[in-house]
């Protein structure tokens, strides 16, 4: 199994000379199994470049796993050219929206309304189908076992563990570990903390020993104090989780929009200095970076 980053930016695409190295496109990760099956994690603007690549290999069958429906994770979908070409097949997986009870088909339908996009849903000439994922309910696609788990974010967000060809990776989507909303002197503090600990423990169990952990890490520890509750993790939180779970490699992604290549280089240097004995490989996710597990 190998994977490749096509989009590493959080929130909004940031093209320009300051984001050439790490990339300006929003989240999209391509997974290719040893049997050449295609799985795509999220469809941010990075999928446009991936789609250009896929045009060379048609007909294609792609399994798309959507972590959540915030724009930066779905906005590239209408620009995925093979979706308009007959003979291709797309199976889109994602969670139900708890408020409307609607399935993941909403991610595309909302974007293809005539006021927002010139092409209507009935013009999708590829075969497109949708499947709702259920938390903790494993399913198999293209020889890969997928384990979805809900991770805290301001909207329902699924982290996906992918096991294939004897290798494993876990992608968090957007994730911030729930913090205690109570003060230590509040009576509810201890019980609530115990619930949080239980939830983190179960995540650690799920991702124990994965070959690659790809994690939302948008903020420095200092920035995080101002951005608590925004639904994103700090670099330090990602490292802490990776350590506890004994992962082999950690990829920090969902780069904060104002972060330049120089900023990210500097952050990487500082992290290596602050954590001299990591026990795993640390990477900053970079557009077009391809990893074979």
């Amino acid at each position: 199994m190998k994977f490749k980053f096509w989009g590493t930016r959080g929130s909004i695409p940031i093209p320009g000379e300051k984001t050439i190295k790490y990339g300006g496109n929003t989240t999209c990760i391509e997974i290719i199994t040893n049997d050449d099956d295609l799985i795509i994690l999220d469809t941010g603007t990075g999928i446009h470049a991936l789609a250009q690549d896929l045009l060379q290999h048609m007909p294609i069958k792609a399994h798309i796993l959507i972590t959540h429906t915030h724009w930066d994770h779905i906005q590239g979908l209408p620009f995925c050219t093979p979706i308009y070409i007959p003979g291709n097949e797309f199976i889109i997986y994602g969670g139900k929206d708890v408020i409307t009870n609607m399935g993941i088909e909403r991610a595309l339908q909302v974007q293809l309304q005539q006021a927002f996009f010139p092409i209507a849903e009935n013009n999708l000439k590829a075969k497109v189908s949708y499947k709702n994922v259920v938390p903790n309910e494993q399913f198999v696609i293209a020889g890969a076992t997928i384990t979805p788990v809900i991770l805290n974010h301001p909207v329902i967000n699924f982290g996906y563990r992918v096991d294939c060809d004897g290798k494993s990776l876990f992608f968090t989507g957007d994730y911030e570990q729930q913090f205690n909303i109570y003060e230590p002197e509040d009576t509810e503090y201890s019980e609530f903390q115990a619930m949080i600990d239980l939830s983190v423990d179960s995540l650690v169990d799920l991702i124990q020993g994965v070959d690659a952990l790809i994690m939302d890490s948008s903020f420095t520890a200092e920035e995080y104090t101002q951005k608590k509750g925004w639904g994103h993790s700090s670099y330090d939180a990602a490292i802490e989780l990776a350590k506890r779970a004994n992962v082999k490699q950690l990829f920090l992604t969902h780069h904060e929009p104002t972060r330049t290549d120089a900023n990210l280089d500097q952050i990487y240097t500082e992290l290596l200095k602050n954590y001299p004995d990591l026990g795993f490989e640390l990477h900053i996710a970079q557009e077009k970076l391809e990893i074979t597990l």
């Binding site: 009870n101 903790n136 939830s199």
Partner: protein, 257 residues
């Protein structure tokens, strides 16, 4: 007199709106970026309809969670504050959510189970007030004149008592069998049901302390088994609690009286 059926109760509950006071409070709190999570959770927890409906969603087949979610806190850890807030707003504004499938899990007792059981155990009386007012008036009058327990009069006039209605509601909202069963028998002495004994005893304490009686003024006697649970007879238990004026004040503040 018309007897109420289980299906009728379920239909009534589906129509039940959240309490107006918490609806306006939720809208107010969620309109401000500065509202604390603590405050929002406190309002949701204080409204049994809102609490029940959120737990119903959490315990639906969609989430397929390995343990039943019996408190808003546990829901918060799983789906986060924003989704809880959005669910609460939907319930506040729309009144009802689309139906979800029934759950089938069970859980151990948490502190929050006592809270939920305490909050919901008399909810059946609200269903009666809302949808079977005339029959319930008769039951209240008979209970008051005869100084007899209300639940017996309810059974006579409605074919079912409020504890049984509350049980149906608890199961409908996806709460555990333990909570539902404890609610159902909170007027009886059921051996080995700690939660039920706690509700029963707390009820008698509330009446003794004049915190409220839910239309049922009769203070019932604790059984030997219930006394054994607390280690002392009822009057000593009251004495041990000491000055409960602060608790009384908190309760009144909580329910907005």
């Amino acid at each position: 007199m018309s007897q109420i059926s289980e299906q009728e109760i379920l239909d009534c509950i589906e129509k039940m709106p959240a309490f107006p006071k918490s609806v306006s409070k939720i809208i107010e709190l969620t309109s401000s970026m500065d509202s604390s999570a603590k405050d929002i959770i406190a309002v949701i927890e204080g409204d049994p309809v809102m609490t029940g409906k959120i737990l119903q969603v959490m315990n639906s087949a969609f989430y397929s969670l390995p343990t039943k979610i019996t408190s808003i806190h546990r829901a918060l850890v799983i789906i986060g504050l924003n989704t809880i807030k959005n669910l609460a707003i939907s319930i506040a504004v729309i009144g009802v959510l689309r139906p979800y499938k029934e759950p089938h899990f069970d859980s151990d007792l948490f502190f929050s189970d006592y809270f939920i059981a305490g909050l919901l155990h008399d909810f059946g009386t609200i269903v009666f007030t809302e949808f079977k007012a005339e029959e319930f008036e008769h039951a209240l009058a008979e209970s008051s004149i005869n100084k007899s327990s209300l639940y017996l009069a309810e059974t006579k006039y409605l074919g079912m008592n409020h504890a049984q209605v509350s049980q149906i509601l608890a199961l409908k909202w996806g709460l555990s069998e333990v909570i539902a069963e404890s609610i159902a028998c909170h007027h009886q002495n059921v051996p080995n049901n700690l939660l039920s004994s706690c509700i029963f005893t707390a009820n008698q304490i509330a009446k003794q302390a004049q915190l409220g009686n839910s239309g049922n003024p009769v203070i019932e006697i604790l059984s030997a088994e219930q006394i054994a649970i607390f280690g002392v007879p009822f009057n000593e238990l009251i004495e041990e609690l000491g000055d409960i004026s602060l608790i009384k004040e908190t309760v009144h503040h909580f329910i907005g009286t």
